[in-house]
């Protein structure tokens, strides 16, 4: 394993400390328990958005803490859900009287830990579960779909709704609307290596890809030979639209998300392919994001998210945001 670290046990605290120092104008970092909160507290009565999940997906979620998006983020160990004490401390810190909205990616660990935090929290809270990954869906298991990069769209759009003054229930509803209008699929060219594990999570042959990979390196639909970018994109667009639904004339938010080890050169090439594929289907890409947003450590590969936008969602997407990873 070749990584830029000191000791394996210090990876997370040193990285969080660095994040806090680099973005000291935007966030405050608590190391015990671990959470990242906005530096400028939100106005009284605003719904506070708290997300969290395993580390290794940076900039998700701490990179999205700031005006117009999250109020706090709770990073767990690499690929491991955070613990309820982190969520509680974050909630007590950022609660502005409007209640807490937990934004949770659908993994059993995250769901259970946030559930325990919600049970222990004294104030009002509600939660949104994101489950946009269309790669694996089987009627044989009851876990449902995985939550991946559409979580960014949920956090951005709901963040703007909360800033606008929407109450807890309205925020939850719009978040659910964004989630169900979204679909994501990923592909891996290489594995990632969890620092504490010290070896790659899975083995891929030099010419192989994992189609439908998860953001923790979980297997997807199948392993196959690498194909041209256009062919990968065609399959992914097809799978996403089949699930998220889109009619001719639909307006989409498209997120081409790098998995951590993919050059921007290739991500923009993928976006070109996505645009052509959507054009051919009479679907317009109204808004877009290209870059590393929901990564899987150093994995090479990308995910594509398409979110069918309505007028309100587009307006909330366009609203100002000021975070480490997104700002306009």
């Amino acid at each position: 394993m070749k990584k830029l670290i000191n000791g394996i046990d210090d990876v997370l605290s040193e990285s969080l400390r660095g994040f806090g120092l680099a973005h000291s104008d935007l966030v405050e970092v608590s190391l015990e328990p671990r959470y990242v909160a906005r530096k400028a507290k939100a106005r009284d009565g605003k719904v506070a958005l708290i997300s969290g999940g395993g580390s290794g997906h940076e900039p998700l979620h701490a990179g999205f803490v700031g005006a117009g998006m999250l109020d706090a983020a709770c990073p767990g160990e690499v690929f491991t859900s955070p613990t309820p004490d982190q969520m509680l401390a974050a909630a007590n810190d950022v609660d502005a009287g409007g209640g807490i909205l937990w934004i949770v990616k659908n993994y059993s660990g995250d769901v259970m830990n946030f559930e325990m935090a919600a049970e222990m929290f004294d104030g009002d809270s509600a939660s949104i579960l994101t489950n946009d990954d269309v790669a694996v869906e089987s009627s044989l298991h009851s876990q449902g779909r995985r939550g991946v990069a559409a979580t960014i769209a949920v956090e951005k759009i709901v963040g703007a709704a909360a800033e606008r003054g929407d109450d807890l229930d309205s925020c939850r509803l719009i978040g659910e609307r964004v989630n169900s209008a979204s679909g994501t699929m990923g592909v891996a060219l290489t594995s990632c290596t969890v620092p504490a594990a010290g070896k790659p999570t899975f083995d891929l042959g030099a010419d192989e890809i994992e189609m439908g990979v998860g953001i923790h390196g979980e297997p997807g639909r199948r392993r196959e030979k690498l194909k041209p970018a256009d062919a990968l994109v065609a399959e992914m667009v097809e799978a996403i639209l089949e699930s998220a639904g889109a009619d001719e004339g639909s307006e989409m938010l498209a997120i081409v998300n790098g998995m951590g080890g993919t050059p921007a050169l290739e991500l923009y090439l993928i976006f070109d392919a996505v645009s052509r594929e959507c054009d051919a289907r009479g679907i317009s890409i109204a808004r877009s994001l290209v870059g590393n947003y929901c990564t899987s450590l150093e994995m090479q590969g990308f995910s594509l998210t398409l979110t069918r936008l309505d007028g309100e969602m587009r307006e909330l997407w366009d609203a100002p945001v000021r975070t480490a990873a997104l700002h306009w």
Binding site: G54, G76, E77, V78, F79, T80, S81, P82, T83, P84, D85, Y107, S108, G109, M112, N113, E115, M116, V136, S138, L140, H141, S142, Q143, R146, V194, A196, A197, K199, T201, F202, G214, H216, G217, E218, P219
Partner: protein
């Protein structure tokens, strides 16, 4: 008496988990996300650190303290699940169980808490596939040797199962053929408890 038993249990369980952390990681890399060994090791270390404090308490309070330590340090799925098991057992326990019947009631309460937290049951390729059969052996007064055998057989029996819960469930049929890492950690805990009871 309680104090010695609790600290011996903590030592035995924690040492076994720490010694087998890599085995758990390897199993989890095959069908999950590879964090089970590191998570369980973190929980084991937390228990060892708090061992004196925990074992100074009455049995039920010790279970509650240990459960809280697990919930607050482990994360992932194993934190809430093993933590809920201990918290559930704490609610059902008064003193140290005096016989197999009493022990089986306490263990059952722990298992019920795992089922409720994980919204799962035996048959979904999880730790419950070891814990549930072990509990029924305790309930029927089986020998420690028999309990060990059942733990091993139940672990082995998770290999051909299709995962329906946890991250392994996302693999569907590709989860078949691998033992479940949660079932493995549960079996390790059962063996560690058997070791302590045999030495009594």
């Amino acid at each position: 008496m309680t104090q010695k038993l609790v600290s011996r249990l903590i030592e035995a369980i924690a040492n076994s988990i720490i010694a087998n952390a890599e085995v758990l990681t390897t199993l989890d890399q095959a069908i999950g996300d590879g964090d089970h060994g590191a998570n369980m090791r973190r929980g084991a270390k937390a228990l060892k650190t708090q061992c004196d404090e925990i074992s100074s308490l009455e049995f039920a309070a010790a279970l509650k303290k240990a459960g809280t330590a697990i919930v607050m340090t482990v994360g992932g799925a194993s934190g809430p699940l093993y933590g809920s098991a201990l918290l559930g057992m704490a609610k059902a326990a008064s003193g140290v169980p005096k016989n197999a019947k009493e022990a089986s009631v306490v263990v059952r309460a722990g298992i019920d808490a795992v089922k409720a937290r994980g919204k799962s049951d035996a048959g979904a390729k999880t730790m419950l596939d070891v814990l549930v059969p072990v509990q029924s052996e305790i309930e029927s007064g089986s020998s420690i040797a028999r309990i060990r055998t059942v733990a091993e057989e139940s672990l082995e029996a998770t290999k051909p199962m299709l995962a329906k819960k946890g991250r392994a469930a996302f693999l569907g049929e590709r989860s078949i053929g691998h033992a479940d890492p949660g079932a493995k950690s549960a079996a390790l805990i059962v063996h560690a408890i058997c070791d302590v009871l045999e030495a009594q």
